[in-house]
């Protein structure tokens, strides 16, 4: 599969008073055409920063992309000047983002129309009338009733779920090749989440785009993603297809994540197993595997050698761990 987006060895750090925070520490991944990719990890593991880095949206200072390449349709996005035409053309035109907080990602003083038509006018050079008609159509498509009327409303007149629908409509408006959804449903209730994910999945298919879903919700990726990357402390620690990761997870962290999710087929009253401990301090990262202090499988090799690189364990399934399945695969 030809990759649409290839991120190679991306490093992003933030300068703080306490020191340099390596939020993203050598992340590589790729997204194929028409593929849905999930990026999973707990809060603060660098998943959002990775996505913002791709579009150079990291606030700078204090943030800075220090190394790596982001190849999108053969072009290195990190090489583009911050204010260049090319970058503005790609943002929204070819890569669109959907943010976590629908309550704050729409400008409160502008009507929905003005915010939606902006991208169409900038990228497709549409007249304001044509843009408006297109937006009404899009709003109808994402399930806003009375779209022709509601388009003149202000964001506060919409509920959270509807705002996120508007965000989806905005994201697909220029028919981008890639949509990056940064925890698109975290702020919503579960029923709305399901509706919106179905909608998003449908839209991506319909408009022939690819989708990156960043989330800490394993249920979300399990259902929609073709492939999944699991991140921990600024690195990808395991990647593979949905089946690989859910059926035969290889990294202790992935196993831990799966065990901390409730399942319907378990007897009632069974306790969930949390992962003990906290994320390591991103300023003073240990030279060894960052998950080591929380890992229940660790072997001597873990403490002696630096954090292992991703290694293939099967076709398309990569993991960065010394613990081999023959030594300890089935846990107690």
């Amino acid at each position: 599969m030809a990759a649409l987006l290839t991120v190679e060895n991306l490093r992003t750090s933030f300068t703080t008073e306490q020191g340099l925070v390596k939020a993203v520490d050598g992340v590589s991944y790729h997204v194929g055409a028409n593929e849905i990719v999930g990026i999973v990890g707990e809060s603060g593991c660098g998943k959002s920063v990775t996505q913002l880095s791709v579009l150079q949206l990291i606030p700078s200072p204090p943030g800075k992309v220090t190394a790596g390449r982001v190849l999108f349709e053969g072009e290195d996005l990190l090489r583009l000047e911050t204010k260049s035409q090319e970058l503005h053309r790609i943002r929204g035109g070819k890569i669109a983002m959907i943010f976590q907080e629908p309550m704050t990602s729409l400008n409160p003083v502008l009507t929905i129309e003005r915010q939606m038509t902006e991208a169409l006018e900038v990228h497709l050079g549409m007249s304001s009338r044509a843009a408006r008609e297109r937006c009404v159509e899009l709003l109808g498509l994402v399930g806003i009733p009375d779209a022709a009327e509601r388009i003149d409303d202000y964001p506060y007149q919409f509920s959270g779920g509807m705002r996120q629908r508007v965000m989806i409509a905005m994201a697909i408006s220029c028919q981008p090749r890639l949509i990056i959804a940064d925890e698109p449903t975290t702020a919503l209730d579960v029923t709305t989440q399901a509706q919106l994910l179905e909608l998003l999945g449908g839209m991506v298919k319909r408009f022939d785009s690819s989708l990156v879903i960043v989330t800490h919700n394993l249920g979300v990726v399990a259902r929609y993603a073709d492939r999944i990357y699991v991140m921990y402390a600024g690195r990808v620690i395991e990647s593979g297809t949905c089946t690989d990761l859910f059926v035969s997870p290889r990294h202790p962290y992935t196993m831990g994540l799966l065990k901390s999710v409730p399942r319907l087929n378990e007897p009632p009253g069974k306790k969930l197993v949390p992962i003990p401990g906290l994320l390591p301090d991103l300023i003073e990262m240990p030279p060894t595997c960052a998950f080591l202090p929380r890992c229940r499988y660790h072997i001597r090799e873990c403490e002696e050698k630096p954090w292992p690189m991703l290694e293939s364990v099967r076709e398309g399934h990569y993991v960065s761990c010394f613990v081999k399945p023959e030594e300890d695969h089935h846990d107690g």
Partner: protein, 305 residues
């Protein structure tokens, strides 16, 4: 993916739940309702409207020519012919107050316009771009803030000389720091919002983000500052005129009239009191309107009023 067709069914189901709330323009109506909800604010609005009419229709409202001198009828007590009496050279005080409305309002509005325009532009640039520009602009503003506004205006008026244009300019410059600081603070908080990142993510340029997304969200507290400052600018004119650095001789301005009248404070107090009362009234009116606007526009008070 098997979800897409089902997704539509669920979406349609969603329509039923999300009931339509007819809320067009209700925000504007809410602001107006809160704004006019207090009597004192209505009083302020009516007073300001009255003053504007007074300024526009001065030639028709004034019973006498405000510049016509009549030495034989100087320093008359208030009476039937001259409701507020006459001054030291026999000019009708009421007519001069009516004409003075023009000067005073003009000074208030123009001075604040100068201050707001320059101050807000500087604040917007400093807050938005940050870095060296921020340091340069804000340290300069800090230096300006070392001087109290009235002293600043006094220095500038002293350098520029008396006269209406110079007075407006001097007061305008002296009021810049407040606008710059407030604007900068607003920009710093507004630019952290997700919708700014969202606007960037759809390809909006710096200028577009600045003008279209950030600027309008900064306005509410500035509108309040503007109304309050109009009163303050009028008061400053009075101060400058009193010190002899304000409006030039024959022109009628309230501050000037107060200062001219103080020589006759014992014998003819109305000469100073009448224009003084006018100043008090207009400052009060603008302050009340400013208060009302703050209540109506402050999002934190939304829902409580």
């Amino acid at each position: 993916m098997d979800g897409s067709t089902r997704g539509y069914g669920m979406t349609k189901h969603g329509h039923v739940k999300e009931t339509r709330v007819k809320a067009h323009a209700s925000e504007f109506r809410r602001v107006v309702r809160v704004f006019l909800g207090r009597r004192i604010v209505i009083f302020g609005v009516v007073t300001i409207a009255g003053l504007i009419i007074c300024a526009l229709l001065a030639p028709y409202l004034a019973p006498y020519d405000p510049y016509e001198q009549n030495l034989s009828g100087a320093l008359q007590k208030p009476g039937f012919n001259h409701w507020l009496g006459t001054d030291a050279v026999g000019r009708d005080t009421l007519s001069r107050i009516i004409y003075g409305t023009r000067t005073s309002l003009m000074i208030g509005i123009v001075a604040v316009a100068i201050a707001a325009l320059i101050g807000m532009t500087l604040g917007l640039i400093a807050g938005f771009f940050g870095g060296k520009g921020y340091t340069f602009i804000m340290r300069f503003i800090d230096a300006m803030m070392c001087f109290p506004p009235i002293l600043m205006a006094l220095i500038l008026a002293g350098i520029l000389g008396a006269g209406m244009k110079n007075v407006m300019f001097a007061i305008g410059i002296a009021l810049i720091p407040a606008y710059c600081r407030l604007m900068c603070a607003q920009v710093l908080s507004v630019r952290e919002n997700d919708y700014v990142t969202a606007a960037r993510s759809i390809g909006a340029t710096n200028i577009r983000v600045m003008i279209r997304h950030i600027l309008p969200n900064c306005f509410p507290p500035l509108i309040v500052l503007i109304t309050v400052n109009i009163g303050m600018a009028i008061l400053s004119e009075a101060g400058l005129s009193f010190l002899g650095l304000g409006i030039e001789a024959p022109k009628a301005a309230w501050g000037k009239m107060v200062s001219d009248g103080y020589l006759y404070l014992r014998t003819q107090p109305v000469l100073s009191f009448a224009p003084g009362l006018a100043i008090m009234l207009v400052v009060f009116a603008f302050n009340m309107v400013g208060d009302g606007l703050r209540d109506a526009l402050d999002p934190k008070l939304r829902g409580t009023l």
